[in-house]
């Protein structure tokens, strides 16, 4: 692998990792703060991608589809929290898994009814359609760079929100002691609904901006959900910083796992088998740090 191919794969890996982070951060926040295991989180990613496809067509522009999709996904998140998720806060994990699995089926069926079962593609918006040449043969698409930049900005904003604003302090306080937080005059129902809607919007937004670089297909939600659970487990459940570190690592392991041919004891491991690489990586991390990368050991 020459330097430029390496550079391209590195950028691809980082970009994939950042995208995973947008989805996984919502998953880990919702688990860490409300204690809810949300299997339907991947569905929001899928819904986002389909929204980007369908809204771009109806509204004529990706740039109008994007904010419209964000508004719709925040509303969807609020509605779902109010209808279903709020009833799960004091229930055990089995009930959470059952209900949110049911939501996966509902979203999948709704998608089929609304948008059909075909695979679609979303055109890269004209503004970002160019490529940056690296050598005479190789170049890197501007859209992918923009995508990474947007993810980094969002991650920074989220970090600031949680660590440095009063709202973030309330959210963290609510995660640690719900009753006490309420007794200090904070409406925790509204707070939780907002956090859930934020998680939904992040996942859907990730789906929207991913649509132009990957195809839009029915199973995309479940695919990303599984990888995001790997990210959350590696990063430490509930840790947003951990999710960032883990998402980048997984992005890189997955990307390089697919292009590097490894030879162990004369046995060639084909790139096709590399789909396993992230699970092997997870197993290694968990043997080394069972609580995840960035979770401080309690007690």
């Amino acid at each position: 692998m020459d330097t430029y191919t390496f550079l391209i794969q590195l950028l691809n890996g980082i970009q994939y990792g950042l995208l995973l982070f947008l989805v996984a951060s919502g998953l880990t926040l919702i688990f860490g703060i409300m204690g809810v295991i949300n299997l339907s989180h991947g569905s929001f990613y899928m819904v986002g991608a389909y929204l980007a496809w369908s809204l771009s067509q109806h509204l004529g522009s990706f740039w109008i589809a994007l904010p419209t999709g964000i508004v719709l996904s925040v509303a969807l998140g609020m509605l779902l929290e109010w209808l279903f998720i709020k009833h799960l806060y004091r229930r055990d994990h089995l009930q959470q898994v059952l209900l949110t699995y049911g939501l996966i089926l509902i979203f999948s069926e709704l998608r089929s009814i609304l948008w059909g079962d075909d695979v679609h593609s979303v055109a890269v918006p004209a503004l970002l359609a160019g490529s940056i040449p690296l050598t005479e043969m190789l170049s890197y698409p501007v859209y992918r760079l923009w995508l990474s930049l947007v993810c980094v900005i969002l991650a920074g904003l989220m970090y600031y929100l949680i660590q440095h604003t009063k709202l973030g302090m309330m959210i963290r306080a609510g995660a640690s002691n719900r009753e006490m937080t309420q007794s200090l005059g904070i409406n925790i129902d509204v707070l939780y609904r907002s956090v859930f809607a934020l998680g939904v919007a992040l996942a859907a937004f990730a789906g929207m901006i991913a649509a132009p670089v990957s195809s839009v297909f029915p199973g995309m939600g479940n695919q990303v959900l599984i990888v995001c659970f790997v990210v959350v487990v590696i990063g430490g459940i509930g840790s947003v910083k951990g999710a960032m570190a883990a998402a980048l690592l997984i992005g890189l392991v997955d990307t390089f796992g697919k292009v590097v041919e490894v030879e162990i004891g004369g046995l060639r491991i084909l790139p096709e088998l590399a789909g396993m690489s992230i699970y092997v990586f997870m197993a290694i991390v968990l043997l080394w740090r069972p609580e995840g990368l960035l979770v401080r050991r309690q007690h």
């Binding site: 009063k166 302090m169 640690s176 002691n177 009753e179 007794s183 200090l184 005059g185 904070i186």
Partner: protein
């Protein structure tokens, strides 16, 4: 200081599941008044506080704050009406720093008052200023208690409810807390104090209430209570 009624609870019956804990309690707090709420373990003191605070909605009876019915209101509404709660076991947020514990709660009071600011809280509890960036879990028991009290003061409350605020503290630290409670009393904030230390409570309270098995068996000022040694012995073990 007006003598208007701040809290008026009537005929409170509270349950934990099937077990009937409070049996028709009437309870009034007036503006500026300090109430000592006493009774042996398990008599229902904490339960009464939780019924008032909306944390354990009473099955029968009513709770009014300044005449407004808040009987089964959400706890945050009761808090927003100016009722501040320092629970048993303190309830600081260990994952937040000292400063964050204070900032997250700070807001103007019910009538828009902003007497209590971060600076004033630090003046009242200088030890907290030294620990400003420490995590909540790094504090000693006494510091944690100061933090919980400072935190509710920053909500600029009309009523401070303290459940066993000095429990488990070293005598000197407990003394410091009592000194601060006297200081807070002087500012005109009402309070309900639950504490095992009869002499400290009776020294600060305007009125005392003793609960036995979820019922009020005594109500009166400290002098009246001190003049009834048999009541003290029977219900408080003093």
């Amino acid at each position: 200081m007006s003598d208007g009624t701040l809290i008026e609870a009537r005929g409170i019956h509270a349950y934990y599941g099937a077990s009937h804990v409070l049996h028709g309690i009437d309870f009034v707090v007036r503006r500026g008044e300090t109430i000592g709420l006493m009774g042996r373990n398990g008599m229902g003191k904490t339960t009464l506080l939780k019924s008032i605070l909306g944390l354990l909605p009473p099955r029968a009876g009513s709770v009014r704050v300044r005449g407004i019915d808040l009987t089964r209101a959400a706890p945050f509404r009761v808090a927003r009406a100016g009722i501040a709660y320092v629970p048993e076991g303190r309830g600081i947020f260990p994952n937040l720093s000292v400063k964050e514990n204070l900032v997250m709660a700070a807001r103007p009071g019910h009538d828009g008052r902003t007497e209590w600011t971060l600076d004033r809280a630090f003046d009242t509890f200088p030890r907290l200023r030294e620990r400003i960036n420490h995590g909540g879990q790094q504090l000693s028991g006494g510091e944690q208690q100061m933090l919980t009290i400072a935190r509710v003061l920053l909500t600029n409350p009309d009523l401070l409810i303290l459940d066993e605020a000095t429990e488990g503290l070293a005598p000197l630290v407990a003394q410091e807390i009592w000194r601060i409670l006297h200081q807070i009393r002087e500012t005109g904030i009402s309070s309900i104090i639950v504490d095992k230390n009869f002499s400290a409570v009776s020294a600060i309270s305007d009125r005392n209430i003793i609960l036995v098995k979820g019922q009020v068996v005594f109500e009166g000022d400290s002098d009246t209570l001190r003049a009834q040694p048999e009541t003290l012995r029977a219900h408080l073990g003093v």
